[in-house]
Symmetry: C2
Subunit: 467 residues, 2 copies
């Protein structure tokens, strides 16, 4: 078995920087993931290592953990060696110390030693910094090591470490950008295969099959569950049983995660048949104009929240032209009336995680101490990114229009936004579905750069792919 790794000095450098940022302040404990069981313990999902563990220690193997002593500088990787039974069943691997040396760590210990290591540090009155756990098995272990209850475990999470990790991971190095370009390029190939395979009469899952085939055949996987649906109004549907019908559109939101676990995240919306209908074309153009406007605003120093709001205003202006909205566009956005059509945020950070570092907390990744996330305003509460952009950020732009009958019924019954929404016309669009268009961007010193190769997005280009 081969381990995909950057040069060991990359990892040494990242840990050096982390130690600098933390100062002499006790231990940092970074926990790798275990395998996750499907329907019985030994039948497991495809292993996914924790992204922060990958970032600092690179090793893509289950049941590892690492400690960085910020006082002494010592680094230890904890793991168990294979038995002969393991070798018979799952093959050989480098030893733990061989793996450790691949990422520049000299010292290793058996996994079971972590408990003692943590106990001792706590007994000595030292801090043990941990990140917020998101896997239940890791919560169980941490609660045991910290001798606390699962409910109180959150009190032991280190905000200082969380912020230090985010500060590093949020700026992508050229090496990381190169990996992300690979992932986006595979994602583009997946999307082209899906679009070309789309035709009336087949099932959505036949398109999902194509996406997986292209990803896996490129030594990648899907970084998140595919959204490939004729019910594009449902933002994150993972039901694939509908039959494709002439006249409808498919919304496909898919992304490859490459061997190094960097991801792409692309969306296209295209007709089941060879051409869009006139109604579809009109709303598609509204979304595309909003997207292009948002892209044009990408540069260091601009707040993403402002780009989001500008994109929303562009959507409203377009929807007014179509006749679905009315009144003053800026006032409509200020009132939140656009959320009838666009219920979510314009985009998010992208990296090893599709919603990059979501486990560490959106309020720290996408916002700052000064700019807090709105948690109660529909629309803004789903905006995962708001802060000022910096060179090295990688993010998505993904405006959309989603016609959700249940939302129309609810808001109309509550007489919401009556001065901005043309309910009579909107009710004739109840079965329209949804449109989203999404690409990935690197923020550069003076603007932005599209990540990966170009994926057709104009009406003409999309139709050309189908003909």
């Amino acid at each position: 078995m081969k381990l995909d790794l950057f040069d060991k000095y990359i990892y040494i450098g990242r840990r050096h920087q982390l130690k600098q940022n933390m100062g002499q302040d006790g231990l940092i404990l970074l926990l790798g993931n275990e395998d996750s069981s499907m329907n019985y313990k030994d039948n497991t999902y495809l292993f996914r290592q924790d992204s922060s563990f990958l970032y600092y220690f690179g090793l893509d193997v289950p049941v590892l953990a690492a400690i960085i002593d910020t006082d002494s500088g010592e680094e230890v990787i904890f793991g168990n060696e294979l038995t002969i039974d393991d070798i018979v069943w799952t093959g050989t691997l480098p030893t733990v110390s061989e793996m450790a040396s691949m990422v520049g760590v000299d010292k290793t210990k058996p996994y079971a030693d972590i408990a003692r290591y943590v106990h001792k540090a706590l007994t000595d009155g030292r801090k043990v910094h941990i990140l917020p756990p998101y896997r239940p098995e890791n919560k169980i272990k941490l609660a045991e090591w910290f001798n606390t209850s699962l409910n109180d475990l959150a009190d032991h999470v280190s905000l200082k470490l969380t912020k230090a990790v985010i500060a590093q991971r949020v700026i992508k190095s050229p090496l990381e950008v190169a990996e992300m370009e690979k992932a986006v390029n595979i994602s583009v190939d997946m999307m082209q295969a899906v679009i070309k395979h789309t035709r009336p009469g087949i099932k959505e899952y036949e398109l999902v099959a194509k996406a997986h085939e292209v990803a896996i055949a490129n030594d990648a996987r899907l970084g998140y569950p595919a959204i490939i649906t004729t019910h594009g109004q449902t933002l994150h549907t993972h039901y694939y049983g509908n039959t494709l019908q002439e006249g409808r559109m498919v919304l496909s939101d898919i992304g490859a995660e490459n061997a190094m676990h960097y991801g792409g995240d692309l969306t296209r919306t295209f007709p089941v048949g060879k051409t869009f209908t006139q109604e579809q074309k009109e709303l598609y153009e509204v979304v595309l104009n909003s997207m292009d406007h948002a892209i044009g605003m990408l540069k260091p120093g601009t707040r993403y929240k402002d780009i989001h709001l500008a994109a929303c205003q562009k959507l409203v202006e377009g929807l007014k032209q179509v006749g679905l909205m009315k009144g003053d566009a800026a006032e409509a956005v200020a009132a939140g009336a656009h959320t009838m059509f666009f219920q979510c945020g314009l985009g998010h950070m992208l990296g090893m995680d599709t919603h990059d570092m979501e486990d560490l907390g959106e309020q720290y990744v996408g916002y700052t101490d000064k700019l807090k996330k709105e948690t109660s305003i529909f629309g803004l509460k789903s905006l995962r990114l708001g802060r000022e952009l910096q060179a090295g950020f990688v993010l998505t732009i993904e405006p959309g229009i989603y016609i959700i009958p249940e939302l129309i019924d609810r808001l109309q019954a509550e007489k919401m936004y009556t001065e901005f929404i043309n309910y009579d016309m909107l009710n004739t669009y109840r079965d329209f579905g949804g449109i989203r268009i999404e690409d990935n961007f690197l923020i550069t010193d003076d603007g932005y750069q599209l990540l990966g190769k170009y994926l057709p997005k104009s009406l003409k280009e999309i139709e050309a792919l189908k003909n």
Copy 2:
């Protein structure tokens, strides 16, 4: 969204039978699964419902649980209704009570009510029967509801319920067999696609891609991680990065899990190029003869352990003809010398789980109170099935020959089996790899039936697929 379900009377009947088997003896608590997180909480693997929950309650939706009161006969499904946010993000679903009525249950309650329900029963001195949990999140919940520690949770598992569930699930009904035939047929299509796609120069993962494509395009998934490898000697390898080289073989062990979550489990071993080498042909025939011999023994009343041992003896006889083993075949098997080549068991029960009901305990599924599993003898400790066969069992037959260099080195150094193994010759086979051939069978009243359509397995048939 559509729920794939049998007729509700199937589930009512199964629960009725379970109540009969348990008698009036308190509550039965069956826990459905939750979504499992990959790299952050909301980025989840493809949901897999618990198989016993599916068997009795059919509902393929996360975060459900059910209680059967064996005294009053009452049945309750616990679950949470969707909010408008859920509908925007993940679409509509039937309400919990609508879902419950689809499987013949009248009463529903919010999920949070389970804790009170269990507390009250325990306070009243009633039993609450649970199955062994295998997911960490379910362990956490159960420990809380039973007011016990995670370490002591095993004491609360009900062996009586475990055995009652096994007694039902182990005999497959005609309806279940029909689902399994569908799953095997998809698995056959997957294998044919993989074999036909195999050629020198490509990567193993390109074959894995084909398997996934065919499964998903048939509204199925892989029931277990694909084993598709040129290192067939590693029984359960999930590394797919090797390049296929002319002269080597590919071992492909793959199975579809269909929409109703019944699975197939097939293995074929075939050349990377168009033909097997002479050496490969010889050992392939040894495995195939062993397999055919074992299949011929399948009938009610025969102990699977005896079939396993007979298959081992056939392997030894074949290996003697090739020259890799020597001495008396029966004595070799009694001494365990065949485990140099065949380290595992001949097969296992198959159903909704690939190793059917492995979560409930192999010692109860594959063995009986009289015939216990050998837990310390290499070879037999990996025999998942030993008991007398009964009509309605579905199982695999999968003999193999695996040349594991690490095992040769270890056993030769220990001077093990020197009277049965020709180490000089064996060391010339160190890079041979492994061969496994596997099909699925239903035990009938008077013998057996191959499940699903025929998948080529003779040398000639396999080579014909490649030409």
